[in-house]
């Protein structure tokens, strides 16, 4: 079972962690700075985009998903997918309520 060995062998080193740490700190600075700009519609989009980038970095490197088995990747993706299902399917109701009846 090659998957297992891969899991046991791959160790991410401090160098990668340091790079990610700095990326995350820069991301934090960026998002705070962006929130003070007047961008209207784009403000929340940018805030979420930066947050998502940070989250992806954490998941891929701190949580080793980049080096993990397909099963782990699938689990992560299904988590995100179900999260989006709950939100988007609920919003089908909330968004279209304002459209009036038909």
């Amino acid at each position: 079972m090659s998957e297992h060995n891969e899991h046991a062998q791959h160790i991410v080193g401090p160098g990668v962690y340091l790079v990610i740490l700095f990326a995350l700190l820069i991301g934090t600075a960026l998002t705070v700075w962006a929130s003070f700009l007047e961008l209207g519609f784009w403000n929340p989009i940018i805030a979420l985009a930066i947050a998502t980038t940070k989250a992806v970095l954490v998941v891929l490197f701190f949580m080793h998903v980049k080096y993990s088995s397909k099963l782990t990747k699938l689990t992560v993706i299904s988590g995100i997918f179900m999260f989006l299902v709950l939100i988007s399917m609920t919003l089908t109701d909330y968004i279209s309520r304002a459209w009036g009846s038909w």
Partner: protein, 248 residues
Amino acid sequence: MPNSSVHTAESAHEEHPAYLRHHFNSTEQQADAAGFAMWLFLLTEVMFFSGLFTAYLIYRNWYYPAFVSGSHQLNVVWGTTNTVVLIFSSFTMAMGVWCAETRRRRGLVLSLTLTFILGLGFLGIKTIEYREKIEKHHVPGFHYSMQSFLDPQSDPEVYAEYHDKPLVPDMARHTELYFSLYFLMTGMHALHMIIGIGILGFMILRARAGAYTAGHVTFVENIGLYWHFVDIIWIYLFALLYLISRHQ
């Protein structure tokens, strides 16, 4: 054959480390199963928080001005500090996992202790923030006060920074929803932090005894995953609760 543990052909020739539970055939299988279980647990955590995020999304769209004024009540300096604290704690946690994997006992203890302290620091800052809300009667429920939103000038510190216009009463009432979600989401997050810190304390004690630097690192890895997950939740909470609209 009473009480004899049955060895199969494939596992008989390996030697069994003490931590291998009886029902697993190999240490890889055990580590794999534990890691996968942790990921599934995090999956349930995602779904647990997703209910709150859904509520947040709906009410933010409905009562945007209330959410803006409400978020101005949060201290962005404390929020940013806390984000940085958590990011550093995630880093030290990741280092801890690395130390465990490469069997560095002192490094592991140091990393875990740092993570522990940073976690406590986060909670300390959160307490300061919560106390400010309690003093201003911004805790939803029977003692909730809309004063800061009906008359922003009564709250000189925040007013000096953002010059919020007063909200009309019906919109001001909805700041309570903002604070409900604020306390719910940060409260749930803080609860996860407290649990994590408790486990970290336990781990530090065991790590000093060398429990995780003898090859069996699953537990450290799993708690690491948990800690990073809590960090991710905060990254989103910070963006959604603190940074709604900071420009004047």
